[in-house]
């Protein structure tokens, strides 16, 4: 019976041992090889001290070791925490402290700038390093990734884990500022794989190109669906979208998932997409925001035989809706309807179902609803709530998405807006509060408010309104430079405007709607 994440790999390795599982540049690994190395690494992690439920960070760029680590942590009985390779040392250390990380898998290059910040992570006991390590200034045990992969695990393999156990924590930006860890059980990840591979009809004939990071739920889902179905997953690190198009062609890729910014880049003439028929490409999927209509039109004309699936999901419920390609002409702006084995309700403030056309909150019920936020029961209780449509005698938990939507007469959903002020830029969920905090740290401001401004390429760009402290002068360029030194590129405000004061609501809070109106939004 396959009920844990690594069982999906095990089943495919038994069924298709010689089948290509992972491709990265010149590396090609068959399923049997992947399973063997994952087994060795799992054993190595247990020998190094990993016990059931321990959190293990994976701070790597897209690579074979990154994929192997996730399955090995699962097999060891631990909880994997994929950390986006683009995050800064302080952000990585924050995540490590927040989840009480016991071990971290990374490279010597990434460890260098991180070593100092890791001293503030008391729970951390050991490192697993991918690649040769010189002198490393950390008071931690260090294990070599390749050496662990080469170990032979004992048979039978003791496995106390059950599907209800925590399997992964995915960190996502929250409205309160610091990133929050969304907890997923084995059952939820496996259900997400079964559901998505059902409606995308993924089989062992598929070759899927992974451009989304595994720290993002849709990216992780690609890896899981591929291994569950015995498909081939191709990893890529790219800067030029030409490289993506060339890989699609060379590897005869059949499936590709992206976020709106990726599709905007890919539909630029420089990518070469329009010059190159891609007859193998069976489907593409979009998630993480609405695909701009001009981009959708370009993709449809460049990929006439490819099915386009528009999808919607939030990490807290993993995956929620998709628009069947056959509906694209009739409802190009729709986010679709519920994924299989899932119920999507539109609920008004009284907790009643909305009529067609009426705006309400999207509420998700199904097997992919997460276990909530790590270490934040009060925030979890706000998002995971009793089903408003069932009698209270039935303890049924649903996920309130915070997204306002409406449903048409046929049950298709349309996005209206975010309940809070979250910004979504180039696929990242960005919290205005986090950027405001950094602005304040410049020491020159008495007011700062950040909003998202629509942008065709990025989804939204960040605009900051600032008020100088008395006697201080605000230099926008200097302030941007200060932000750029403290935050990754996608969080740095594109525009900074100085105001004499910020508009306030009667209760004294910053009036964000007034700021948006100022921008004509």
């Amino acid at each position: 019976m396959d009920f844990l994440i690594h069982h999906m790999l095990g089943a495919s390795a038994r069924r298709l041992p010689e089948k290509e599982a992972l491709v990265h540049g010149g590396q090609r690994l068959a399923y049997a090889e992947v399973a063997r190395r994952v087994g060795g690494l799992a054993h190595g992690l247990r020998e190094a001290g990993i016990e059931r439920g321990d959190r293990i960070g994976i701070y790597l760029d897209a690579s074979v070791p990154q994929a192997l680590s996730m399955f090995a942590v699962s097999q060891a009985g631990g909880v994997y925490v994929p950390v986006n390779g683009l995050l800064y040392p302080d952000q990585v250390a924050y995540i490590a402290r927040d989840c009480g990380m016991k071990a971290l898998v990374t490279t010597p290059e990434k460890l260098g700038p991180l070593a100092e910040a890791l001293k503030e992570v008391p729970s951390l006991e050991f490192l697993v390093l991918v690649g040769s390590s010189g002198l490393i200034d950390v008071p931690l045990a260090v294990h070599d990734f390749e050496a662990l992969c080469g170990l032979t695990p004992p048979a039978p393999w003791p496995e106390p884990t059950i599907e209800k156990d925590l399997a992964a924590i995915l960190y996502t930006s929250g409205s309160t500022g610091k990133p929050k860890g969304v907890m997923l059980s084995h059952a939820q990840v496996v259900a997400g794989s079964s559901i998505v591979s059902t409606y995308l009809r993924i089989s062992d004939q598929d070759r899927i190109l992974a451009v989304l990071p595994f720290s993002f739920d849709a990216g992780m889902n690609q890896l899981m669906t591929a291994f569950q179905q015995g498909a081939t997953l191709i990893l890529i690190n790219f800067v030029f979208t030409r490289e993506v198009v060339q890989t699609l062609l060379r590897e005869r890729v059949t499936g590709l998932a992206g976020v709106p910014t990726f599709w905007s880049l890919l539909s630029q003439p420089t990518s070469g997409l329009q010059k190159q028929p891609l007859p193998h490409l069976r489907y593409i999927t979009n998630t993480g925001g609405a695909m701009p209509q001009p981009v959708l039109a370009t993709l449809r004309s460049a990929l006439p035989s490819t099915e386009i699936f528009l999808m919607y999901g939030l990490t807290e419920a993993f995956r929620s809706t998709y628009l069947p390609p056959a509906e694209l002409d009739r409802r190009p702006t729709s986010m679709g309807k519920a994924i299989p084995n899932t119920e999507i309700m539109v609920v008004n403030e009284e907790g009643k179902l909305c009529k067609p056309g009426e705006v309400g909150e999207l509420v998700h019920r199904g097997p992919t609803v997460s276990m909530g936020y790590w270490g934040h029961p009060e925030l979890t209780a706000r998002v995971l709530r009793p089903n408003p449509l069932l009698p209270p005698e039935i303890a049924d938990v649903v996920c309130y998405s915070g997204d306002y939507v409406k449903m048409d007469e046929d049950g298709y959903l349309y996005f209206v807006g975010r309940r809070d002020t979250m910004i979504k830029s180039s696929g990242f969920r960005i919290s205005p509060t986090e950027i405001e905090e950094v602005l304040f740290r410049s020491g020159r401001l008495k007011g700062a408010a950040v909003i998202g401004v629509p942008d065709e390429m990025l989804g939204q760009t960040i605009k900051a309104f600032v008020v100088a402290r008395d006697g201080e002068h605000v230099d926008a360029a200097q302030l941007r430079e200060f932000c750029a030194a403290s935050m990754p590129r996608h969080m740095v405000p594109k525009a900074i405007e100085a105001l004499d004061e910020l508009p306030k609501t009667p209760s004294g809070k910053v009036d964000y709607p007034a700021l948006r109106r100022r921008e004509g939004l």
């Binding site: 683009l86 690190n237 790219f238 800067v239 030029f240 990726f262 750029a484 990754p488």
Partner: protein
């Protein structure tokens, strides 16, 4: 007045526009793409800057990592294109 060398002008642009380029002094042969200093969005800004600043044309075929992977590679690429357009 003579212009600063091409490498310095590109480095100045990177430091001004790419946060990670400021974390430590950039070496001329440092891998800007593999180290994530320049990403897939940033490369568009960088290409536009090179075309503008050095009055060169960068074709689709030029958009390969080899030309952009380090300051020294970029300077050489720019130099080559400048000599082509001056003929």
């Amino acid at each position: 007045m003579s212009q600063p060398p091409i490498t310095d002008r590109i480095k100045q642009f990177l430091v001004e526009h790419f946060p990670s380029a400021r974390k430590h002094p950039l070496a001329e042969d440092e891998h800007l793409l593999a180290n994530g200093i320049v990403d897939s969005l940033g490369i568009l800004d960088l290409v536009a800057y090179l075309e503008r600043e050095f009055a060169i044309t960068i074709t689709d075929e030029d958009l390969v990592p080899e030309h952009f992977e380090s300051l020294s590679r970029m300077a050489k690429f720019v130099q080559d294109r400048m000599s082509v357009s001056s003929h």
